[in-house]
C-alpha cells in the first residue's frame, strides 16, 4: 500500500513539474493528494487506528481537493479566455 502511495506521488510530481498543459498539472496534483490519502489509510490500518483518524483525515483531504480543483479549473478557464492558451510556459505574468 505504501509503495502504491509513493508510486502515485512520484507520478504526480513528475506531472506537476514536467507537463506543459495546465489541466494535466491539475490532474497530477489530484494524483498527489490521492497518494496522500492512500498513505493515511495505510498508516491507519498499520497502527490499527481505533478512532479512524486516518480515514477522517482522508475524507477532509477529498473535500479540500474537490474545492481546490474547482478553483484551479476556474483559474485555468479564465487564463484561456484571456490569453487563448493554457501552456504554463507562456503564463509568466509574475516575471520581475
Amino acid at each position: 500500500m505504501l509503495t502504491l502511495g509513493a508510486l502515485l506521488f512520484s507520478i504526480g510530481i513528475y506531472g506537476v513539474l514536467a507537463r506543459r498543459n495546465a489541466v494535466l498539472v491539475l490532474m497530477s496534483i489530484e494524483l498527489m493528494l490521492n497518494a496522500v490519502n492512500i498513505n493515511l489509510i495505510a498508516f491507519g490500518a498499520w497502527f490499527q487506528d481505533k478512532a479512524a483518524v486516518g480515514q477522517i483525515f482522508a475524507l477532509f483531504v477529498i473535500a479540500v481537493a474537490a474545492a481546490e480543483v474547482g478553483i484551479g479549473l476556474a483559474i485555468v478557464l479564465m487564463i484561456f479566455r484571456n490569453r487563448e492558451t493554457i501552456n504554463l510556459d507562456e503564463v509568466d505574468l509574475l516575471k520581475w
Binding site: 513539474l17 498539472v25 510556459d89 509568466d92 509574475l94 520581475w96
Partner: protein, 672 residues
C-alpha cells in the same frame, strides 16, 4: 422620660425618601451641564445658558424634595453611601461618597436656589458679554463643585470640592481679565485663600494620622468616644480652621474678599456672598465634634469671629463702592456665624447662613441692578434712584432691613438667636465653654448690629435718596433681573420663620449641628436690646445722610477715618511685609540666577552644541552617508541578481518547493 426617648428613637428611624437616597444627582447635574456647555454651548441658540438654568432648576427641585420630604420638622435620616474611587497605598482608598443629613439638605437648597436665581439674572446682566458661554460653564462648574463639597462624606472629597470652588472663584473674579486690576484681584483671592489651605491640608493629615480614616462620620464617632487625644484634636481643629479663615475671609485673611468684587456682580452674589464663602462655616459645622472636643479651638473660633465682625463692620462704613460695602458686610456676617460656632451655637450659625444667603444675594443682585443702570460702582455717582428704579429700590430696602435685623424679616431671627446664645454662653455657661468668651461675642455682636444697621442705612440713603449725581440715564432693569430680586425679597421676608424661637421642630432640629437639637427660647429683654440697636443704627444713618451731604460726615472723624480708608493698613502691611520682600527678593534672586547660572548654562550649551555639530558633520558626511549610499547600492545589486529567481514560471517554483521539502525531510530524518 421614657416617652421622650421612644419619640426620639422613632424620629431617628424615619426612612429616607427617593430624592434623599439619590441625592448624588444634585451635584452630578451641574457637572454634566458644565461639560455640555463647554463642548456645545457656542452652538446652542442661547450660548448654553438654558442648559445651566435647566439643570439648576432640576437640582433645586430635588434639593427641595430632600429638605421638605425628610428634614423639615426634624429627625431626618442620615444617609451615607460611597463608591470606592481608586486605591492608593496598601489599604487606603479614596471614596466618592455622599453623606446626607439636615445640614447637607439645607446647604443644597441654599446653593441651588441662589445658583438658579443668579443664572436667570445673568441672562440679562451678562447679555452680549465676550465670554458669555464660558461664564455659564464656569457657573455650572462652580455649582457642581460647591455641591460636591457639601455632599462629601470624606475629608479628601471635601477638599476636592473646596479647591474646585477656589478655582472657579479665581476664574470668575478674573472674568474680565483684560483689565489688569481684575486679574490682580483674582490672583490675590487665589493666593490668599491658598495661604489658609496649607494649614487646612495639614489639619486633614493630622486627623487622618490620629483616626486612620478620612471618613467624616467615622472621625466624629472616634472623637465622641474620646479615642483621640485632646492635644491632637486642638491642633487639628485650629489647622482646619485656618482653611475656614481663608475661605470665609476672616481676619487675618479677609483682604481678598473686597477685591474679589472685581468680578461680575452676579458672581459676587453667588460665590462671594451666599455660597463659597460660607464653606468655611459649613466645614466647622460639619466636623463640629472635633471643635467641640477642644475648648481652646472653639475659643479661637469665637474670638476671631468677634474681632472680624467688628473690624469688617467698621470698614463697611467708609466705602464708596456699593459692592465693597456689601463685601465687608459679608465678612462681618460670616464672622457672626463663626462666632456663633465658637460659643457652641452651631444651629444658630447655620440658621444665619441660611437667611444671610437670601438677603445678601438679594442685596448683591440689587447692587448689580444699580450698576447696570448707572454704569458705575460708586455711590457718589448714584442718588435719587428711588423714582427711576422702584422694584430695585423696594427689594434693596427689604434686603437692607433684613440684614440690619428688623423684625419680622429673616436676618432678625437668626441674628437674635446668635446673640441670645452668646449671652447665654456668657452668663449660664455651657459645657466646656468659657463664659468670658461668650460675653465678648455678645458685646461685639451688639456693636456690630448697630454698625450694620448704620452702614446699610447710609448705603440706601446715598443710592436711592436725594438727587441723582451721575451722568448716565438710569432705568429700571429688565424682568430677568427684577424677578430674582422679587423672589429673593419674598424669601428674605419669610425665611426667618423657619427658626422662630420656641418652635421645637424648627430649624435647629432640622440641621442638628453636632447632634444638638435643643431649641433655645428667646428672652424678651435681649430681643428689645437688639431691635433697639438696629433701629438706632438706621436712625443715625438717616440723620447723617438724609440731607444728602456734600462730603461724607464720617470724614469728621479725622485720623480714624483715614485709618478706615486705608483698611487698618492691613493691606499696606501685607504689601510691605510679605508681598514686596518675597516678590522683590525673589525677582532679584531670579535675576542674578538668570544672568549668571542660566546664561552660563545657555552659552555653555550653545558652545558645546557647536563643537559637537562640527564633529558630527564629518561623521555624517563620511560614515552615515557612506552607510546610506552603501545600503542603496548593495540592495540594488542584490536585487539585480535575485530577480532571476522570480522567473514567473509556476513549475519552476514548484520544483524549488519540492527541493525544499526534500532538504527538510532529509534534515528531519537525519537529525530530528
Amino acid at each position: 422620660m421614657v416617652a421622650t426617648l421612644a419619640a426620639a428613637a422613632e424620629a431617628v428611624t424615619k426612612t429616607a425618601s427617593w430624592p434623599t437616597n439619590h441625592a448624588w444627582l444634585i451635584p452630578v447635574l451641574p457637572f454634566a451641564a458644565f461639560f455640555v456647555i463647554m463642548f456645545f454651548g457656542k452652538r446652542l441658540p442661547r450660548g448654553g445658558s438654558q442648559v445651566g438654568i435647566l439643570t439648576a432648576l432640576v437640582a433645586f427641585g430635588l434639593s427641595i424634595a430632600v429638605l421638605v420630604g425628610d428634614y423639615v420638622g426634624g429627625g431626618g435620616p442620615v444617609v451615607e453611601k460611597s463608591l470606592h474611587w481608586f486605591p492608593y497605598g496598601r489599604d487606603l482608598g479614596l471614596g466618592l461618597g455622599m453623606k446626607i443629613d439636615g445640614l447637607t439638605a439645607v446647604m443644597f437648597v441654599v446653593v441651588t436656589l441662589v445658583s438658579l436665581m443668579v443664572q436667570i439674572y445673568s441672562t440679562a446682566y451678562m447679555h452680549g458679554d465676550r465670554r458669555y458661554t464660558w461664564y455659564y460653564a464656569a457657573l455650572s462648574l462652580f455649582t457642581g463643585s460647591m455641591l460636591n463639597l457639601v455632599i462629601a462624606s470624606n475629608l479628601l472629597q471635601l477638599l476636592i470640592g473646596w479647591e474646585l470652588v477656589g478655582i472657579c472663584s479665581y476664574l470668575l473674579i478674573g472674568h474680565w481679565w483684560e483689565e489688569k486690576e481684575n486679574s490682580n484681584a483674582a490672583i490675590k483671592a487665589f493666593i490668599t485663600t491658598k495661604t489658609g489651605d496649607v494649614p487646612f491640608l495639614i489639619g486633614i493629615f493630622v486627623l487622618f494620622a490620629a483616626a486612620k480614616t478620612f471618613n467624616i462620620t467615622a472621625i466624629t464617632h472616634l472623637v465622641e468616644q474620646g479615642k483621640i487625644s485632646h492635644l491632637t484634636l486642638t491642633a487639628a481643629a485650629i489647622l482646619l480652621f485656618g482653611g475656614a479663615i481663608g475661605k470665609s475671609a476672616q481676619f487675618p485673611l479677609h483682604v481678598w474678599l473686597p477685591d474679589a468684587m472685581a468680578g461680575p456682580t452676579p458672581v459676587s452674589a453667588l460665590i462671594h456672598a451666599a455660597t463659597m464663602v460660607t464653606a468655611g462655616v459649613f466645614l466647622v459645622a460639619r466636623i463640629f465634634p472635633v471643635f467641640e472636643a477642644s475648648r481652646e479651638a472653639l475659643n479661637v473660633v469665637a474670638l476671631i469671629g468677634a474681632f472680624t465682625m467688628l473690624m469688617a463692620a467698621l470698614l463697611a462704613m467708609v466705602q464708596d463702592d456699593v459692592k465693597r460695602v456689601l463685601a465687608y458686610s459679608t465678612v462681618s456676617q460670616l464672622a457672626y456665624m463663626m462666632a456663633a460656632l465658637g460659643v457652641h451655637a452651631g444651629n444658630a450659625a447655620i440658621f444665619h447662613l441660611f437667611t444671610h444667603a437670601f438677603f445678601k444675594a438679594l442685596l448683591f443682585l440689587g447692587a448689580g441692578s444699580l450698576i447696570h443702570a448707572v454704569h458705575s460702582n460708586n455711590m457718589s455717582d448714584m442718588g435719587g434712584l428711588k423714582k427711576h428704579m422702584p422694584t430695585t429700590y423696594a427689594t434693596f430696602v427689604i434686603g437692607s432691613l433684613a440684614l440690619a435685623g428688623i423684625p419680622p424679616l429673616a436676618g432678625f431671627w437668626s441674628k437674635d438667636e446668635i446673640l441670645t446664645e452668646a449671652y447665654r454662653a456668657g452668663t449660664a455657661g455651657v459645657a466646656h465653654g468659657t463664659p468670658v468668651v461668650g460675653f465678648i461675642v455678645y458685646g461685639a455682636g451688639i456693636v456690630t448690629a448697630f454698625l450694620t444697621a448704620f452702614y446699610m442705612s447710609r448705603a440706601v440713603h446715598l443710592t436711592f435718596e436725594g438727587e441723582y449725581r451721575g451722568k448716565a440715564h438710569p432705568h429700571e432693569s429688565p424682568p430677568p433681573m427684577t424677578t430674582p430680586l422679587v423672589i429673593l425679597a419674598a424669601l428674605s421676608c419669610v425665611a426667618g420663620f423657619a427658626g422662630i424661637p420656641g418652635w421645637q421642630k424648627g430649624f435647629g432640629s432640622w440641621v442638628a449641628v453636632g447632634g444638638e437639637t435643643h431649641v433655645p427660647s428667646a428672652s424678651v429683654p435681649l430681643i428689645l436690646i437688639s431691635i433697639g440697636v438696629a433701629v438706632g443704627g438706621i436712625l443715625v444713618g438717616r440723620r447723617l445722610y438724609a440731607p444728602a451731604p456734600a462730603r461724607d460726615p464720617l470724614e469728621r472723624l479725622g485720623f480714624f477715618y483715614r485709618v478706615l480708608q486705608r483698611k487698618f493698613y492691613i493691606d499696606d502691611f501685607y504689601m510691605a511685609a510679605i508681598v514686596h520682600p518675597v516678590r522683590d527678593g525673589v525677582s532679584r534672586a531670579m535675576y542674578w540666577v538668570n544672568q549668571n547660572v542660566i546664561d552660563g548654562l545657555v552659552n555653555g550649551a550653545a558652545g558645546g552644541a557647536k563643537a559637537t555639530a562640527k564633529g558630527l558633520y564629518v561623521v555624517d558626511q563620511k560614515v552615515i552617508d557612506g552607510a546610506v549610499n552603501g545600503a542603496g547600492i548593495g540592495t540594488r545589486r542584490g536585487g539585480g541578481l535575485l530577480k532571476y529567481l522570480q522567473g514567473g514560471d509556476v513549475q519552476r517554483y514548484a520544483a524549488y518547493l519540492f527541493a525544499g521539502v526534500l532538504v527538510f525531510a532529509f534534515l528531519f530524518t537525519r537529525f530530528g
